[in-house]
């Protein structure tokens, strides 16, 4: 069974965000890119399936320009065995649906039967692409998973159902699973892995290669349009509570929370 991993490069989580002049996005000149942290859990889960002999191949699937190669290479160095990078000027301005169309087509072209993804990417925070990919492929989805076992074609996953409950969900391949922190501890690349990955080429595919028409992707195919990027307004400066003793400070804090902020 081939396992696919949806991978996105995102600004590192300690990035100081600056907005571009036409407010359509952020300035990327000084940004340090990394693999979306949730995708790392998906990648690790896939590599573990391969190590356990349950996956025959781990295929990294990404949408991005040549600048995304380093992140894909990092995934190969860690143990992925194939990589497809969908790169096409026609994809510019794609929304989640356009990217999902490209990724679903790439997954199909690669012959993937199980698709793992991060629960969300930490740039757009949309958590939209995996569910759309699952719908396009007609596969079941299990989202926000912190436990995963694959046995033959049978999948058992644990997910946070909210309200303090964990659900154990069973399904079968083909399926889309999104991964949360707690599923595993992602590995770093080993020297052996880096040497082995040197032989693996990252395959670039265009929209046309994947049978997608221009109207299905890019700004033309987008149903969702973002604009007006802004930094959040700064919080009004607060007050440091003075008092002779910790107890006095605490009493004053509680008074302010009740009488000024009116939140308790």
């Amino acid at each position: 069974m081939k396992v696919g991993v949806l991978l996105k490069q995102v600004p590192a989580s300690d990035t100081i965000i600056k907005i571009n002049p036409d407010k359509t996005g952020i300035l990327t000149a000084d940004v340090k890119w990394e693999i979306n942290p949730y995708d790392e859990f998906a990648l690790e889960a896939a590599i573990q399936l391969k190590d356990a002999g349950k996956a025959t191949a781990v295929v990294v699937l990404t949408v991005g320009g040549a600048d995304a190669e380093a992140r894909v290479r990092d995934a190969l160095n860690r143990g992925a065995t194939e990589a497809i990078r969908v790169d096409d000027p026609a994809l510019a301005g794609s929304d989640a649906l356009g990217k999902a169309r490209a990724l679903a087509a790439a997954a199909k072209a690669a012959g993937v039967e199980l698709l793992l993804a991060g629960k969300q990417a930490i740039d757009t925070d949309s958590a939209a692409v995996p569910g759309i990919v699952a719908e396009l492929l007609g596969w079941p989805q299990v989202s926000v998973v912190t436990g995963l076992t694959v046995d033959g074609g049978k999948i058992t996953a644990e997910r946070n159902a909210g309200g303090g409950y964990i659900e154990v969900v069973s399904t079968t391949v083909p399926a889309v699973i999104t991964c949360d922190k707690g599923l595993n501890t992602p590995r770093f690349a080993s020297l052996k892995g880096i040497m082995a990955a040197k032989k693996i080429a990252i395959v670039a595919k265009s929209a046309a290669d994947l049978g997608l028409s221009a109207g299905q992707v890019g700004a033309a195919g987008a149903l969702v349009e973002e604009s007006g990027f802004e930094l959040p307004p700064p919080r009004p400066s607060g007050k440091i509570i003075q008092g002779a003793t910790p107890e006095a400070k605490v009493k004053e804090l509680v008074r302010l929370l009740r009488e000024e902020a009116k939140v308790i």
């Binding site: 600004p11 300690d14 965000i17 989805q141 154990v168 399904t171 509680v254 902020a261 939140v263």
Partner: protein
């Protein structure tokens, strides 16, 4: 021609959840008739009417036990087909997050997730949403004839407009067990928290300075309990093993939006701030007067957390009803 707003309401024991009250209250301000839909649960038409809905659609049947993507997507698509709304709102809850993107792909509608503001601009409902974990905000418009939005809990005030009882309309979405490709085989209680961090109205979070799992359990959890708050933690505290992953607040944890956030022994790394900056009131307790968290706090106490927290717990126990 689609018009009006349909609110996907989550329920708990036949009552609408607070998130549903918020969404209905907001929908009533956006123009057009408001209807509601409850899937896999019962609803009181009077309650839905009080918050502005004129009709409540319900979908039930054997396939609607535990939440499943397949049954809910099919059911909600059927209700949208019947009600023909131009806007569908749901909570950015575990259910809403799983449901809406796939629903959008099913019916050819644009889905916008995790929005915190909605407004009517020239007849079109436009959203604002945080991106980069709240380090920036963006305006989002949907071009399809139906627009789907999930809204982060605690974004809107609740207003009971006092309308008459909504009429309850049962819809047969034609969902059967054969539609379900996933099965919930077991449900179990996770950690102590019963309110999900993302929906919590009050949060008490501990950082690296709680020093140990024992420190977290003996200081943060009781303080949270006294305030009827949900316990959270910084990434540093989680990575050090003081608190479970499910408690992490920040860019690679939960992004939270409570009324009151108390940061205990948290220095205020940019990735933590990203996860809690929209909290309405932020209180910080830290020994270090130069901790960056104080620049983002409404109130700060510079002192030892191990002295302050037990005193604060005692005060909360006395005043929090």
């Amino acid at each position: 021609m689609s018009s009006g707003i349909l609110v996907f309401c989550e329920t708990d024991g036949g009552k609408l959840k607070k998130s549903a009250h918020e969404l209905l209250s907001k929908a009533a301000t956006l123009g057009g008739p408001v209807s509601a839909v409850v899937i896999g649960g019962s609803v009181d038409g009077a309650e839905a009417g009080r918050y502005g809905a004129s009709t409540v659609y319900t979908v039930n049947g054997d396939a609607f036990g535990a939440y499943s993507t397949d049954a809910w997507v099919k059911a909600l698509a059927a209700v949208i087909g019947k009600a023909s709304p131009s806007v569908v709102l749901g909570a950015a809850s575990p259910v809403g997050k799983d449901l809406f993107p796939r629903l959008g792909a099913r019916i050819g509608a644009g889905a916008v997730t995790e929005v915190t503001e909605l407004s009517n601009v020239g007849g079109q409902v436009v959203a604002r949403r945080p991106v980069y974990a709240g380090k920036a905000l963006a305006t989002v418009k949907v071009k399809s004839s139906v627009a789907l939005f999930t809204v982060r809990p605690n974004s809107f005030p609740v207003n009971a407009t006092g309308g008459g009882a909504a009429s309850v309309v049962a819809v047969d979405a034609g969902v059967s067990a054969a539609d379900l490709k996933t099965q919930v085989v077991e449900v179990r209680k996770s950690a102590q928290a019963t309110v999900d961090l993302t929906e919590a109205d009050r949060i008490v979070s501990g950082g690296r300075s709680v020093k140990s799992a024992e420190g977290y359990d003996s200081v943060i959890r009781p303080l949270a309990a006294a305030l009827r708050a949900t316990p959270g933690a910084s990434r540093a505290a989680v990575d050090a093993g003081y608190a479970p992953h499910s408690h992490q607040v920040g860019q690679t944890g939960k992004v939270v939006n409570p009324t009151l956030y108390i940061a205990v022994g948290i220095s205020g790394a940019i990735q933590h701030l990203a996860g809690m900056r929209t909290s309405k009131v932020i209180v910080s307790i830290n020994k270090d007067p130069d901790a960056p968290i104080f620049q983002h706090s409404s109130y700060g106490i510079v002192d030892d957390l191990f002295t302050v927290c037990p005193a604060l717990q005692k005060e909360f126990e006395a005043v929090v009803g």
